[in-house]
C-alpha cells in the first residue's frame, strides 16, 4: 500500500465517520428539541407530582411517635387503617358520594348545555346566571350555604313558604351528605356545562337541518346527533368531575367537620384530620396513597369505557 493510498484510505474513514456522526446528529436533533420543549412540563411533573408521591409512599411505611423516634413498620399502617372503623366509614362515604354525585352532575350539566344552546329568548342571560357561582371561591360558597342551611335559614324559609316541614339538613346524618352534594353541584354544574356547550356548538348545524327534513323529532336529534358527537367532551367532563369530587375538602371542613356521626367524612377530610388534628402524618400518607390508587382505578375504568365506545 502506497503512502498516497494510505492517506486516501484514512481520509475515507474520516469522511465516513463524519458522515455517520452527522446522520446521528441529524437523527438526534428532533428528539433533543422535543425534550427541550417538554422539559418545563417534565420537570414540573417530577417536582410537583412524582417526587411528592414517592415521599408519600415512603413515609407511609414508617411510624413516628411523639415522644419516641421513627421506626419502619412496612405495610403496618395500611393494615391498621383497614381495621379502623373511622377509615372504613370514610371509604364507604367517599364511594357513595362518588357513585351518586358524578352521574348527577354530568347529567344536569349536559341537559343544561343542550337547553342553553337552543336559540331561545334570554338563553345567554340564563346561561351566565348558571355559570356565575364559579366565580365564588369554595370557602365563600360554603359559608353562604351554611347560612342557607341553618334551622332558621333560607332553605327552611322556602320550604315553609311552599307548605313543607322544616328540615335538619347539615345536622342530620341522613341529609348532610346530600346537602353537601347540592352545594357542590350549585358550583360545579355551571363549570362543566361550559365544556359541553363548546362541544355542542362544534356540531355542524347542517346535521340537524338534514334530520329535521327527514322528520326526526327533537328527542331523536338529541340522542342520535348531539349525544354521540359530544362524547369526547362528555368523557373529559366525567373524568375531570370525578377527580375533582374525590378531592372535595373545603365544604366539609367549613360546614360539617365530617359529621354528624361521620356521615360526611370524605377521604380528603379524613386525611387532613389524621395528619393535622391527630398528628399522625405517616398514617395520613398511607391514606393519600390509597386515595390516589382509588382515583387511578376509577379514571382508568372511565377511559376504558370510552375506548370501547370508540
Amino acid at each position: 500500500m502506497t503512502l498516497a493510498s494510505q492517506i486516501d484510505d484514512r481520509d475515507g474513514r474520516v469522511r465516513r465517520a463524519q458522515g455517520t456522526r452527522r446522520t446521528r446528529r441529524r437523527h438526534w436533533r428532533p428528539a433533543l428539541v422535543a425534550l427541550a420543549f417538554l422539559a418545563p412540563a417534565l420537570i414540573a411533573l417530577l417536582l410537583l407530582r412524582l417526587i411528592p408521591a414517592a415521599f408519600a409512599l415512603w413515609d407511609s411505611l414508617f411510624r413516628t411517635s411523639l415522644l419516641g423516634g421513627t421506626q419502619f413498620v412496612g405495610l403496618g399502617n395500611y393494615v391498621a387503617l383497614f381495621g379502623n372503623p373511622e377509615f372504613q366509614n370514610s371509604l364507604l362515604v367517599t364511594v357513595l358520594f362518588t357513585v351518586l354525585i358524578n352521574p348527577i352532575q354530568v347529567a344536569i350539566s349536559f341537559l343544561l348545555a343542550v337547553l342553553y344552546t337552543r336559540r331561545a329568548a334570554g338563553a345567554k342571560i340564563w346561561r351566565s346566571l348558571v355559570i356565575l357561582p364559579i366565580a365564588v371561591p369554595p370557602a365563600v360558597s360554603a359559608v353562604l350555604w351554611s347560612v342557607i342551611y341553618r334551622p332558621d335559614g333560607l332553605a327552611n324559609a322556602f320550604l315553609n313558604l311552599v307548605g313543607l316541614p322544616a328540615q335538619p339538613f347539615l345536622t342530620s346524618p341522613q341529609q348532610s351528605l346530600a346537602s353537601i352534594m347540592v352545594l357542590l353541584s350549585w358550583v360545579g354544574v355551571g363549570y362543566w356545562m361550559l365544556f359541553l356547550i363548546a362541544g355542542i356548538n362544534d356540531i355542524p348545524r347542517s346535521y340537524y337541518e338534514a334530520a329535521s327534513l327527514d322528520g326526526a323529532s327533537a328527542w331523536r336529534q338529541l340522542w342520535t346527533i348531539t349525544f354521540p358527537l359530544v362524547r369526547r367532551p362528555l368523557a373529559f367532563v366525567l373524568v375531570a368531575d370525578t377527580v375533582s369530587n374525590l378531592l372535595v375538602f373545603a365544604p366539609v371542613q367549613i360546614l360539617t367537620k365530617g359529621g354528624p356521626e361521620g356521615s360526611t367524612n370524605l377521604l380528603m377530610y379524613e386525611i387532613y384530620t389524621r395528619a393535622y388534628t391527630l398528628g399522625d402524618l405517616n398514617t395520613a400518607q398511607a391514606e393519600v396513597v390509597i386515595l390516589v390508587l382509588i382515583t387511578l382505578i376509577i379514571v382508568a375504568l372511565q377511559f376504558r369505557l370510552l375506548r370501547v365506545e370508540d
Binding site: 415522644l67 334551622p151 335538619p168 367537620k257 354528624p260 395528619a275 398528628g279 399522625d280
Partner: protein
C-alpha cells in the same frame, strides 16, 4: 442607553448603602418584622402592637388571624413544615405540652423568675412542661351566665343575681328557659362554644365525671363514667327538646343572644363588651350554673404566647411577648380592644374595674364575680401530652350528641378513638 445603565448602577449603589445601613443598626439591637399568628380579630391586637412599636421603633409586628376552629390544625400544619413566617404564636394552654414535645416552642426558661412574679401561680405553672418554661400567659378566662331580663320579666320569672352563693342549678335554668320560651322567646338556653370541651368539661365535672383524662402520665381516658354520660344526656336533651338550637356554629352563637333570641347564654368576659354595644334590651350577669346536688365547676385558662423554634427573628419575637405578658402596660393593651382578663396580675387589678364600667349597669358586680370564680370554682383543663387528640375527638362527640346521637354510645366511641390515636403516637 448609557444613561439608563448609569441609573441602574446608581440605584444599585443606593440600595447597597441602604441595606448596609439596615444591617448595621440590626446588629446592635433586635429589629425587623415579627410575624404573629393568633385566632383573634386583628382589631383585638392593634393596641398592643401599636404600644410595642412605639417602644421599639425598629421592630414591626405583623398579625395574621386564623379562625379559632381551624387554629390548632393550621398550627400543626405550618409549624410541622418549619414555617419561618411565624415568629410568635398564641398557644391554647392545654396544647402547650404537645407543642413543646414536638419541638415547636422555644425554651423560655431564662424568663422564669420574671414570669413567676408577674402572674398567678396557676398561670405560671401552666406554661411548664418537662421542667422548662415554654410560653408566657397573656390572658386568663372564666365563664358567666348572661340572661335576657326582659324575657324573664315577660315570663314572670325572677332573675338570678351575681352572688356566687345564690348560684342557679342547670335544672333551674332549664325550667326558667322553658317558661321564657312559652312566653315568646325562640330559645331558652345556649352555650357560646356549643361543641367545645372548654365549656362542656364543667358539666361532667359537676356530676363527678372528672376531666376525662387520668393516670400518673395523664394518658388514661375515661369519658364513659356515670358523670360524663349523665351530663351529656342532659346536654343532648336540651337540643332534642328545642330548649337550645341545633345548626348554629361555634362562634355564631353570641349574636343569638344579642339579637334577643335566647333567654340564657353562657359566655366569656369578652361578651360583656360585645353585648354592651350590641344588645338593645335589658340583660344581666350571673355565675355559671351547676347540677343540683353536684359540685360547682367553672372553666379557666386562656392563651399563652410562645416563640416558634423555626423563627429567624427570635430576639425581637421574645421582646414582643415579654412586652405583652410581663410589662403591665403591654398586658393592659392586650385587653384594650376586647373584654378579657390579662394574666398579668398588676394589669388585671387595674383592668377589672374598667371592665365593669364598660358593661354599664348590666354588668355591675362582674369584676368581683370573675375574681371569685377564678379563685374558688375554676377547674383547669387537663395537662396531657395527648390533649390535642383528646379534645378533637371529644369536640366531634359533643357535636354528634348535640345532633341527636346516643350519649353513652358516642362517648364510648370517642374513648376508643382517643385510645387509638394515642396508641399510634405515644
Amino acid at each position: 442607553m448609557m444613561r439608563s445603565r448609569a441609573t441602574i448602577v446608581a440605584g444599585a449603589a443606593v440600595g447597597m448603602l441602604l441595606l448596609s445601613g439596615c444591617s448595621a443598626s440590626g446588629s446592635t439591637e433586635a429589629s425587623g418584622t415579627v410575624q404573629f399568628l393568633g385566632p383573634e380579630d386583628p382589631a383585638t391586637f392593634a393596641p398592643v402592637i401599636e404600644a410595642f412599636e412605639d417602644e421599639h421603633p425598629d421592630i414591626t409586628v405583623e398579625y395574621t388571624q386564623v379562625p379559632f376552629d381551624q387554629y390548632s390544625n393550621t398550627l400543626q400544619q405550618r409549624l410541622g413544615a418549619k414555617d419561618e413566617s411565624i415568629d410568635v404564636y398564641a398557644v391554647d394552654q392545654p396544647n402547650l405540652s404537645q407543642l413543646a414535645a414536638q419541638g415547636f416552642l422555644e425554651d423560655l426558661s431564662a424568663l422564669e423568675s420574671k414570669a413567676k412574679s408577674a402572674t398567678s401561680k396557676a398561670q405560671y405553672e401552666i406554661n411548664m412542661y418537662d421542667g422548662k418554661m415554654w410560653a408566657l400567659s397573656v390572658w386568663n378566662s372564666t365563664q358567666l351566665m348572661f340572661f335576657n331580663r326582659d324575657a324573664l320579666n315577660a315570663a314572670g320569672l325572677e332573675a338570678p343575681t351575681t352572688n356566687p352563693d345564690e348560684r342557679w342549678t342547670w335544672e333551674q335554668v332549664q325550667d326558667a328557659g322553658r317558661s321564657a320560651q312559652e312566653a315568646g322567646i325562640d330559645y331558652g338556653l345556649l352555650l357560646e362554644q356549643v361543641e367545645s370541651y372548654y365549656q362542656l368539661q364543667p358539666l361532667a365535672e359537676s356530676l363527678g365525671g372528672g376531666s376525662g383524662i387520668s393516670g400518673n402520665d395523664m394518658l388514661s381516658v375515661d369519658v364513659t363514667n356515670d358523670g360524663w354520660i349523665q351530663s351529656m344526656e342532659w346536654y343532648g336533651e336540651t337540643f332534642a327538646s328545642g330548649l337550645s338550637p341545633r345548626g348554629v356554629g361555634g362562634f355564631q352563637t353570641a349574636p343569638v343572644f344579642s339579637d334577643g333570641n335566647v333567654a340564657f347564654f353562657v359566655g366569656g368576659p369578652w361578651d360583656v363588651g360585645r353585648f354592651a354595644s350590641d344588645a338593645d334590651f335589658d340583660w344581666g350577669i350571673a355565675p355559671m350554673p351547676y347540677f343540683e346536688g353536684g359540685d360547682v365547676a367553672t372553666p379557666i385558662g386562656s392563651w399563652s404566647w410562645g416563640v416558634n423554634t423555626a423563627s429567624k427573628n427570635k430576639e425581637a419575637a421574645r421582646l414582643f411577648i415579654e412586652f405583652a405578658a410581663l410589662n403591665p402596660d403591654g398586658a393592659l393593651a392586650t385587653s384594650e380592644a376586647t373584654t378579657i382578663i390579662p394574666a398579668n396580675s398588676e394589669a388585671a387589678a387595674e383592668y377589672l374595674p374598667g371592665l365593669e364600667e364598660q358593661g354599664g349597669e348590666h354588668a355591675s358586680g362582674v369584676a368581683e364575680l370573675m375574681m371569685s370564680e377564678i379563685e374558688n370554682t375554676a377547674v383547669p383543663r387537663p395537662v396531657s401530652v395527648g390533649y390535642v387528640q383528646f379534645e378533637s375527638a371529644m369536640n366531634k362527640a359533643f357535636a354528634d350528641i348535640r345532633n341527636g346521637s346516643d350519649p353513652a354510645e358516642r362517648l364510648a366511641e370517642a374513648e376508643s378513638q382517643i385510645e387509638n390515636a394515642w396508641s399510634k403516637l405515644l
